[in-house]
């Protein structure tokens, strides 16, 4: 008997219909993109070749989808069995996040009809960070699908397959830890080659992969807290705050490492003064730093972090901190030179919202129909 159980219940609830509407609007623009071309729907240009499709759907989106990664780290590598109940929902959220990040990359691809060229070994340029990101993300989507497969196999009673899958699961989990470590750090490395176009406060060269990886883990952990707390409210399930509070030690470590490393890099590179330049960039880095520091303050107090609401605030701050860090570096303070500016078009925004709506709808359907959530945790 599985320890997991489908949540059941109606699928077409009111919030679901709202999501459906957003998705349909997004879909209309997606059709437009694949019939009239990218120029017809986006504000991308010669200087801003990457807009919100890359930055939000892929760079921020996959970091949001690091819940599975963060938990796999905790549960399997650090042997913290008590987090087990959270693994399946986190893996599902990660699978959806990454799959849709992959989809986002596809409709952002200028020459989508020959996307497979990146999978042909003869074409590979091993100097390219993008190659590593592309291949690694593609493989990781498959790994996540396999990690999630037990839920499907249980549902349809395919016990033979389940058994064989369970035998190799340890290897898949190991890959599921390695691959995000590789590409989440590489997503940061993408910034290095952009050189002067990246604002000095975000152009930390060699430390780009380190900051990207730490912030991805921070986002991964906070999405787990966030998901667990909201589903505890939304699905009236028992709050998992007590379990989650124990993750706090790790998150404290990550947050302080991020802040210290960043400060040290800017110090070594002689850029500390730019923080107080009183311009847009300095405002943004102060905002980011505050968003990284607030959760640290909350988590450092055992009393505060035992309260679900405070934990939720911390999680939201961390999600915003990591997202803002990426947005600032790739878009908001990105400066390709005179003559170029970018603000996403309505169509770009709607396509992105449509993708997110689809992701949430798929999550809702799957937790209601497949054994994803943990049995003991269910309220009667």
């Amino acid at each position: 008997m599985s320890a997991h159980q489908a949540l059941g219940g109606r699928i077409f609830t009111k919030p679901f219909l709202v999501l459906l509407l957003i998705f349909v609007v997004g879909l209309v623009f997606m059709v437009e993109r694949f019939s009239s071309g990218m120029g017809a729907v986006s504000n991308l240009n010669g200087g801003f070749a990457w807009g919100i499709w890359v930055v939000f759907d892929v760079v921020v989106g996959t970091a949001f989808a690091c819940g599975g990664y963060a938990l796999a780290f905790m549960v399997y590598v650090f042997n913290k069995g008590q987090y087990h109940p959270l693994v399946r929902p986190a893996v599902l959220a990660s699978l959806l996040g990454y799959a849709l990040g992959g989809f986002g990359a596809f409709f952002d691809m200028g020459r989508f009809w020959q996307f497979y060229e990146i999978f042909i070994p003869g074409n590979w340029n091993f100097n390219s960070v993008m190659l590593e990101v592309g291949l690694c993300v593609a493989v990781y989507i498959i790994i996540l699908a396999l990690e999630f497969a037990p839920a499907v196999l249980e549902k349809f009673g395919m016990h033979g397959l389940l058994k064989s899958l369970n035998k190799v699961l340890f290897f898949l989990i190991a890959l599921g830890v390695l691959l995000p470590t590789m590409h989440q750090s590489s997503l940061g490395s993408l910034l290095i080659a952009m050189g002067h176009k990246v604002h000095p406060l975000w152009q930390v060269d060699h430390m780009q992969p380190v900051l990207a990886l730490i912030s991805a883990l921070i986002m991964g952990f906070s999405i787990v807290i966030f998901e667990a707390s909201t589903s505890a409210v939304g699905f009236s399930r028992k709050s998992e705050a007590s379990l989650l509070a124990k993750m706090r030690q790790v998150i404290i470590g990550l947050l302080s490492t991020f802040l210290i490393v960043r400060l040290l890099v800017l110090l070594v590179q002689g850029k500390l003064g730019l923080i107080f330049a009183a311009d847009f960039a300095s405002l943004m880095i102060l905002l980011e730093t505050a968003l990284f520091a607030i959760p640290l303050v909350i988590l450092l107090s055992p009393e505060r972090s035992s309260r679900g609401s405070q934990l939720l605030i911390a999680a939201m701050c961390m999600l915003m901190a990591g997202s803002l860090y990426r947005f600032d570096a790739f878009l908001l303070t990105f400066n390709p030179g005179p003559g170029y500016s970018y603000f996403p078009s309505a169509a770009e925004i709607m396509i992105t919202l449509g993708v997110v709506a689809f992701e949430i709808m798929a999550y809702l359907i799957l937790v209601k129909t497949l054994p994803v959530l943990h049995r003991e945790e269910r309220a009667l």
Partner: protein, 324 residues
């Protein structure tokens, strides 16, 4: 693993990354043995745009019209229909040619054919290639996926995507050596250098052009100089002109590893919109980081082995726990 160990591991990994990168840093690439390029002397340019229309002819591209300026190609910047453009610098009342104050001058924009090209370094599919002998950077749409990393990875925003086509491609200057044109392979010079009536755009081996640029830096302002036109190795004519006051700066000698298309001017380059580049190329830093982390995939393989072992051990523990 305890939190302290975890922190240690994190910091250890960070330190390892740092050390590895400083050990294996790759320097800037060196110029190709027979690198060819161009020297653009802004002080000779009269803004006639003959090079722009010649470029359109070579690449079979339509003129770009800005507003009601229909008499000639009035493209303002590089685009998927303009691979070479002449821009104007203006200051104050814009009366004196080549003067930073109250003056004006012209500046060319086209692919710089970098010695250490960012576009080639970042392209996942090897769709941007640098010729090993001539150093010319070409684009190969047959393997390009359109990720546009070359656009963000080029310090000069040169590669341009055809956003307005459903099946668009990247366009950039390929120094007239693209398949079907191959002017350089045929022993000709670039279209723009051939069309230039003043010798402002001069074609030739990078070495010879660099030498010529250094010579011009040494000239005395006010004296006469015979400027070669066309190909520096066999000029088809000379243009005699009074020497201006050059800025002592050859753009492309060193910037981000240097370029094969170099510029000289009497207005400083930051005023002409050149990017703030250091001598070290961003591509070389990116590759150093990438290769120290992924050298022969040794580190990832090692990590995978360690992870597999740990996970296997820990999942066993869990299973036993579950059975109880």
């Amino acid at each position: 693993m305890k939190r302290r160990d975890f922190l240690k591991a994190t910091l250890g990994g960070t330190a390892a990354t740092l050390c590895a990168t400083s050990v294996e840093a790759r320097p800037n690439l060196e110029p190709a043995p027979q690198a060819v390029g161009m020297l653009f002397d802004s002080t000779l340019c009269v803004g006639c745009k003959a090079c722009v229309s010649k470029c359109k002819e070579v690449n079979d591209m339509p003129p770009v019209i800005d507003g009601d300026k229909t008499t000639w190609d009035s493209a303002r910047d590089l685009s998927d229909q303009t691979l070479n453009v002449i821009k104007v610098y203006r200051d104050g009342n814009a009366t004196t040619k080549d003067s930073e104050v109250d003056g004006y001058c012209f500046e060319k924009r086209s692919c710089m054919h970098c010695v250490d090209p960012g576009c080639v370094s970042v392209c996942p599919c090897t769709a941007m290639r640098q010729d090993k002998v001539t150093g010319i950077v070409t684009h190969h749409p047959d393997v390009c996926i359109g990720c546009r990393n070359c656009m963000v990875g080029c310090p000069y925003n040169v590669p341009q995507f055809e956003y307005n086509k459903l099946f668009g491609q990247i366009r950039k200057c390929e120094l007239c050596n693209q398949p079907g044109v191959e002017r350089i392979n045929k022993g000709q010079m670039t279209g723009c250098a051939e069309a230039c009536p003043t010798g402002s755009t001069l074609f030739g081996p990078r070495e010879a052009l660099l030498e010529e640029a250094r010579r011009r830096m040494q000239l005395k302002p006010g004296e006469l100089y015979r400027y070669p036109m066309g190909d520096i190795t066999r000029p088809y004519n000379y243009h005699e002109k009074i020497v201006p006051t050059y800025k002592q700066h050859i753009w492309g000698e060193k910037e981000a590893g240097g370029t094969s298309v170099m510029h000289i001017s009497s207005v400083s380059f930051d005023k002409l919109g050149m990017p703030p580049l250091e001598e070290r190329s961003a591509a070389s830093i990116a590759e150093s980081v990438q290769h120290s982390v992924y050298s022969f995939m040794a580190l990832p393989a090692l990590a995978l082995a360690g992870l597999t072992y740990t996970v296997r051990k820990n999942t066993r523990d869990h299973d036993e726990g579950d059975d109880q």
